[in-house]
């Protein structure tokens, strides 16, 4: 554990009188803190205070601003002392928060000790850098962003300060659009398929063949809902002889492909066409 001791050195002059400072924080409306000598932090108050600060830079900034210290000429002794008082308090109840605060404590002590050391003579002619410069830069950059955060937070936000309008759109948009397909698309696809599959040339696909196929479908569909149909029922003589021929071819093709069974008990008895399924399999 880091042993924290406040080094009381010959701090630069012009320390603000901390005794004049008003309370540090209000807890439940009560002023609970006064700086610095008799710093007393009630345990509950400490929690409130720590949650109010976003880290060591925030706390430092607060101490500096509270005591009207000049950022460009921070009295390190006083600042470090006050800061360490907080860290001491934190070590008791908020150890898990302390890492970053401890790091800052170490930095403050380092800066303070470097300020105590005699400055190396400026041989190169350049002004030696103030050990506080980097801290000041960080403090100012943080303060700048802290103010920016407050301003951004004050901008009205969707959902918090206003609501977006959204009127329902009537039903029609809900209808999903189906792809359009034209017969020509189908032909193209079919042609592509044939060439891709390098289907054998003797595979005869003709208009007649198609028409037989379409009747095969028609017959199967008709048979789907009925156990069997009479052969003659499948023909529509009024549609002409070619149609009847094609229907016959379709029935024969169905039989050939084992899709239907065609039965006749005796010569000139009715011919029945039925869908082949398990029960009629023979």
């Amino acid at each position: 554990m880091v042993e924290l001791t406040v080094i009381e050195g010959n701090a630069p002059a012009a320390e603000a009188d901390p005794a004049a400072a008003p309370g540090v924080a209000k807890v439940y409306g009560q002023l609970v803190l006064a700086f610095p000598q008799d710093l007393y932090i009630p345990p509950d108050a400490l929690e409130v205070i720590l949650e109010s600060f976003e880290g060591p830079l925030d706390l430092l900034l607060y101490l500096i601003r509270r005591h009207n210290l000049d950022v460009l000429d921070i009295p390190m002794a006083s600042l470090t002392r006050q800061y360490l008082s907080y860290v001491e308090g934190m070590r008791h109840s908020h150890l898990e928060l302390a890492a970053e605060y401890l790091l800052m404590a170490a930095l403050l002590i380092e800066i303070k000790s470097r300020m105590l050391l005699p400055k190396p003579s400026a041989e190169s002619g350049s002004e030696p850098e103030d050990p506080r410069a980097e801290l000041v830069r960080r403090l100012l950059e943080y303060e700048q962003m802290k103010l920016a955060a407050e301003r951004v937070g004050a901008i009205p936000q969707a959902g918090r300060d206003y609501t977006l309008v959204q009127v329902a759109v009537g039903e029609r948009l809900a209808v999903t659009r189906f792809p359009d397909v034209s017969p020509e698309d189908l032909r193209q696809v079919w042609v592509g398929l044939l060439s891709r599959a390098k289907m054998s040339r003797h595979h005869k696909v003709t208009r007649e063949q198609l028409s037989v196929r379409s009747h095969m479908t028609r017959i199967l569909r008709a048979l789907r809902d009925r156990a069997f149909m009479e052969f003659t029922e499948l023909f529509s003589p009024e549609r002409g002889v070619p149609e009847m021929v094609v229907t016959l071819l379709a029935i024969l093709e169905l039989g050939k492909e084992y899709l239907v069974t065609i039965t006749q008990q005796a010569a000139f008895a009715p011919i029945y066409v039925r869908v082949r399924d398990g029960s009629t399999f023979d």
Partner: protein, 221 residues
């Protein structure tokens, strides 16, 4: 905290604002909460009626549906709004189109037949897409081991493609010229081809999606 009577103009502004921003229809019981329950249902209804009239002739109307009140677009404005989201007509994948072509030209066919021709397996979603479109249906089973389902095209398919019968499907020429053509046409898109040769293909099967004018989007035969 406030006067018991609420300015009707202000009340309508509040109702309008709440209804314009609510994703769901708002029932009276909820609308009441806007006024800390200080307006009774009758007053609210009267205000809503007023509000509805104020929106007469606009593109959006205030309606009362089963679950409450809401603003919604008037149907007359629908086709204008469609221009904002000109959903490019979706296209079926090659798998779907090839499967459809095989079923159309070779029906009745089983999944196995389709796979034999395409050389790849036919995934369930492909057949599902065509079935849910109402374009193919199961006709029965082929009595071979596994009793595979036989598929064919439906009347709906013919209707949607403006065909009176399967015979009106574009004829397939003899294989020699067909394979020749196939080689050439590989590059051209089906749509272009369709325009080139307006042979047997019934006119009016509009592949182009005319977003504005296409009224109800259905092409007539």
């Amino acid at each position: 905290m406030e006067a018991p009577s609420i300015d009707p103009r202000q009340a309508k502004l509040i109702l309008e604002t709440a209804l314009l921003t609510s994703a769901e229809p708002l029932p009276l019981s909820q609308l009441k909460r806007l006024f800390d329950d200080e307006l009774d249902a009758d007053t609210l209804r009267r205000l809503l009626d007023d509000l509805r009239q104020e929106w007469d002739g606009r593109g959006v109307e205030l309606v009362s549906v089963a679950s409450g009140w809401r603003f919604q677009t008037r149907p007359q404005f629908q086709h204008v709004l469609d221009r904002l989201s000109p959903q490019r007509a979706p296209r079926y994948s090659r798998a779907v189109m090839e499967t459809l072509a095989i079923i159309a030209y070779r029906q009745p066919v089983t999944r196995g037949d389709i796979e034999d021709i395409r050389g790849v397996t036919v995934s369930a979603p492909v057949l599902k897409a065509l079935e849910s479109r109402g374009w193919i249906e199961a006709l029965g089973h082929r009595e071979v081991p596994g009793r595979p389902t036989l598929f064919g095209t439906t009347q709906q398919f013919l209707d949607d493609l403006c065909l009176r019968s399967l015979e009106e499907l574009p004829p397939l020429e003899d294989m020699d010229s067909l394979l020749e053509r196939a080689a050439q046409s590989e590059s051209a898109s089906p749509a272009e081809q369709a325009q080139e040769e307006d042979g047997d293909a019934p006119a009016g099967v509009d592949v182009e999606v005319n977003s504005g004018a296409a009224g109800d989007g259905r092409s007539s035969c």
